[in-house]
């Protein structure tokens, strides 16, 4: 038997490509949920590897909270231009204008929870039967138990006790009308795997992932970007700091970390030594110990 070099990143990549092609083969109207974050950017590269020189058999869907970092939106638009694929934008602002959701009040107000409604509306409007997402099992303990093909009912709900067994590399995407499947091709990747892959593949990222100077305030012990989207009062002291972001979410709930990392190598060194897990920089998980489980049951990604 010939030997060949097939390391852990190759294996993770091959698995993800296999999953993406299963989505193409099993569903009528799939979509790739694109947040502008490094995980969904990785998914786009994997989709290129799965389907080029053909077109993607699905559009990209961005749920825009209206409170995004401008850098993310710029990155998104340039990327769409480069890959020549279709982009659909679901707007949380529109959901607010339509009275479907109400803006949260108070200091910790965020549009993160409101996204769920816009997401479900967008799925219903375009009749998507499968939504590909960049969630990973190492992010959070509820996610550690989620299937790669995760069935949601017509309310977008995930029922952890009624999950289908997922055996070998066989994915059962059969669903009833109204249901849809969330598909997580990089379930088995860790944060470090994603970074190592981005480095290996030389993938460009939004600039907020790298160290930059920014106006911040301290909120619940974490650094938040000072922005019009954050409810601030006289007690909030704005100061400048050299920071970067470890995830790309809504500006009102994504905390910055102090960092001097300007290259991917720096980031990998930083993460390897880091003692705060990635979701630790997301305030929305801290509300209760079972926060993620509750949100997923409610249709959150």
């Amino acid at each position: 038997m010939s030997t060949y070099n097939f390391d852990y990143l190759d294996e993770l990549e091959a698995e993800a490509i296999h999953i993406l092609r299963e989505v193409a083969g099993q569903f009528e109207k799939p979509a790739l949920l694109f947040s502008g974050g490094k995980d969904s950017i990785t998914l786009v590269r994997l989709a290129e590897k799965a389907f080029r020189p053909g077109k993607f058999p699905f559009p990209l869907v961005h749920i825009d909270t209206g409170h995004n970092f401008q850098e993310t939106i710029d990155y998104r638009d340039q990327m769409i231009e480069r890959i020549g694929e279709r982009l659909i934008v679901g707007s949380v602002q529109e959901s607010i204008n339509q009275g479907k959701v109400v803006e949260q009040k108070g200091k910790n107000a965020s549009r993160n929870a409101l996204q769920t409604v816009t997401l479900l509306d967008t799925i219903a409007k375009y009749e998507f039967d499968a939504c590909i997402g960049g969630a990973r099992r190492d992010e959070e303990k509820a996610r550690a138990k989620e299937r790669i093909f995760s069935v949601r009912d017509e309310f977008g709900q995930w029922d952890p006790k009624r999950q289908r067994p997922e055996l070998w590399n066989i994915y059962n995407g059969k669903i009833h009308k109204g249901e849809n499947v969330r598909v997580f091709p990089i379930s088995n990747w860790t944060e470090l795997d994603v970074w190592n892959y981005i480095r290996r593949e030389n993938i460009e990222l939004p600039s907020i992932y790298f160290s930059h100077e920014r106006e911040v305030i301290t909120r619940n012990g974490q650094l938040m970007a000072a922005s019009p989207f954050l409810n601030m009062d006289d007690e909030d002291i704005v100061f400048r700091k050299q920071v970067r972001f470890r995830t790309v979410g809504d500006m009102s709930c994504t905390a910055a970390v102090e960092s001097e990392a300007i290259l991917i190598d720096d980031i990998i060194t930083e993460i390897s030594a880091s003692k705060i897990s990635e979701r630790g920089a997301r305030m929305d998980d801290k509300v209760s110990e079972a926060a993620m489980e509750d949100r997923k049951k409610g249709g959150y990604f």
Binding site: M1, S2, Y4, F6, D7, Y8, D10, E11, L12, E13, A14, E15, I17, H18, R21, E22, A24, G25, E48, K49, A50, F51, R52, P53, G54, K55, P57, R137, D138, K141, A142, A144, K145, P160, K161, Q163, R164, P165, E166, L167, W168, N169, I170, N172, K174, I175, H176, S187, N188, T190, L192, D193, S274, K275, I276, S277, G280, E289, A290, E293
Partner: protein, 416 residues
């Protein structure tokens, strides 16, 4: 660096979650905020140390009941390997989860409580490991601290287990005395058991070679998707996208496409911007054939000199995974890699009592039942026997009324 996927079998009382928690903790794979959440939780061991089991108890329902109810995946890494753990519950009612966790694993850790030795559930877990074709087994005799780290206790347990291993034809069985709670022989060799000359669990996991025993040389690639850009520049482009299940395809290899039986030659292999000379097991590639043959999703490209079996009547082991019992009068769907066709379970040959390993005839097949059946499919399947080629010898059953995955099938023979 490659990946080792392993799963752990044992009950709550065997300290399975503690063992996994210990591996994560001692390899520094627990991050500060997770540790903080652990420390703020009110579950502590008797001596006030952190209860490491909480690390794998993901769902609130589980924390309330103090049991693991589903398969949880955990990840850690050393400088030698990346590890994926499928943590599966050991209670009898959750056999289906164990089968699920075991289906993707290359290695199984079987936990035995040193105070109790080989018990009914040890037999059950070991049987499932053999059924799922896991070749590498580590039997961890846990809670050695509770038996004064006694070598005699350890020896008498492995003597008993060896009998079971022989009966089940387990291939590569290794034994390690450990205390997950105290950390003995998990990462570091324990000074409290100087009579044990083997490696610690982690060192063993880092170096075990799983490829040699498992990789089949039979070249197989189920077609998942046909790439046809149909642009002016790529007018005649037709690439067959799939993941090589097993074996190797080289340029100019003679291949057969099943079920049509058409033969052709591998003209080109593509992987994104590369055109390699070969596609190996595990790789997701695009294959181009010399001849214009009609191929669609569900077809399989195979090496022409080592054909799989083709049959509409297959003898298989079945593990039933649904609350609603098997109905031999209705039609199910069978999914074998990318191929889906209708099927019936036309006969139940026997059921296995997984506590005693006795076979007996049965009319009924209910949740967590395991046994031998005959599957009758609408279209012929191109398959290998599970023991020869796990990836092409397995399938799932789907109930088209509920769309749930209701059964796991391991092919044992084509029925003449």
């Amino acid at each position: 660096m490659n990946i080792l996927k392993f799963f752990t079998a044992g009950s709550v009382d065997d300290g399975k979650s503690t063992l996994i928690g210990r591996l994560l903790y001692d390899t520094d794979s627990i991050l500060a905020d997770q540790l903080e959440a652990l420390q703020s939780s009110n579950r502590k061991n008797d001596d006030g140390t952190i209860d490491l089991a909480i690390l794998t108890d993901g769902l609130r329902a589980e924390r309330e009941q103090g049991i693991t109810i589903d398969v949880a995946y955990k990840y850690f890494q050393t400088d030698k390997r990346k590890f994926i753990i499928a943590d599966t519950p050991g209670h009898i009612q959750y056999t289906r989860n164990m089968v699920t966790g075991a289906s993707t694993a290359n290695l199984a850790i079987i936990l035995i409580d040193a105070r109790n030795g080989v018990v009914e559930q040890t037999i059950r877990h070991s049987y499932l490991v053999s059924l799922l074709g896991i070749k590498h087994i580590v039997v961890c005799i846990n809670k050695m601290d509770m038996v004064d780290y006694s070598q005699d206790v350890y020896n008498s347990i492995i003597e008993k287990y060896k009998v079971l291993a022989q009966q089940l034809k387990l291939v590569d069985v290794n034994y390690i005395p450990v205390s997950a709670l105290k950390g003995d022989n998990i990462v570091q060799n324990s000074e409290r058991m100087d009579w044990y000359e083997g490696e610690s669990l982690l060192h063993f996991l880092e170096k075990v070679d799983t490829d040699s025993l498992e990789k089949s040389t039979l070249a197989r690639m189920p077609v998942q998707w046909v790439i046809r850009p149909q642009t002016e520049a790529l007018h005649d482009y037709r690439g067959y996208a799939g993941r090589v299940l097993s074996g190797t395809f080289n340029l100019n290899d003679k291949v057969t496409v099943l079920p049509s039986g058409a033969s052709s030659i591998v003209e080109k292999i593509e992987f994104f911007d590369q055109t390699p000379d070969a596609a190996h097991a595990g790789q997701s590639v695009i294959i181009h054939l010399k001849d214009d043959v009609d191929i669609s999703r569900g077809d399989t490209i195979v090496n022409a000199s080592a054909l799989p079996q083709e049959s509409k009547l297959i003898e298989a082991d079945l593990c039933w995974m649904d609350g609603r019992a098997l109905d031999t009068s209705i039609t199910y769907l069978i999914q074998h890699n990318s191929k889906v066709t209708k099927c019936k379970i036309s006969e139940i040959l026997h059921k296995v009592d997984i506590n005693t390993l006795e076979k007996h005839s049965a009319e009924e097949f209910k949740l967590n039942d395991i046994g031998r059946v005959i599957v009758k499919t609408a279209d012929a399947l191109a398959f290998d026997l599970y023991d020869d080629n796990r990836a092409n010898g397995s399938a799932i059953l789907v109930d088209s009324r509920t769309n749930l995955t209701v059964g796991a099938l391991m092919f044992r023979a084509a029925v003449e």
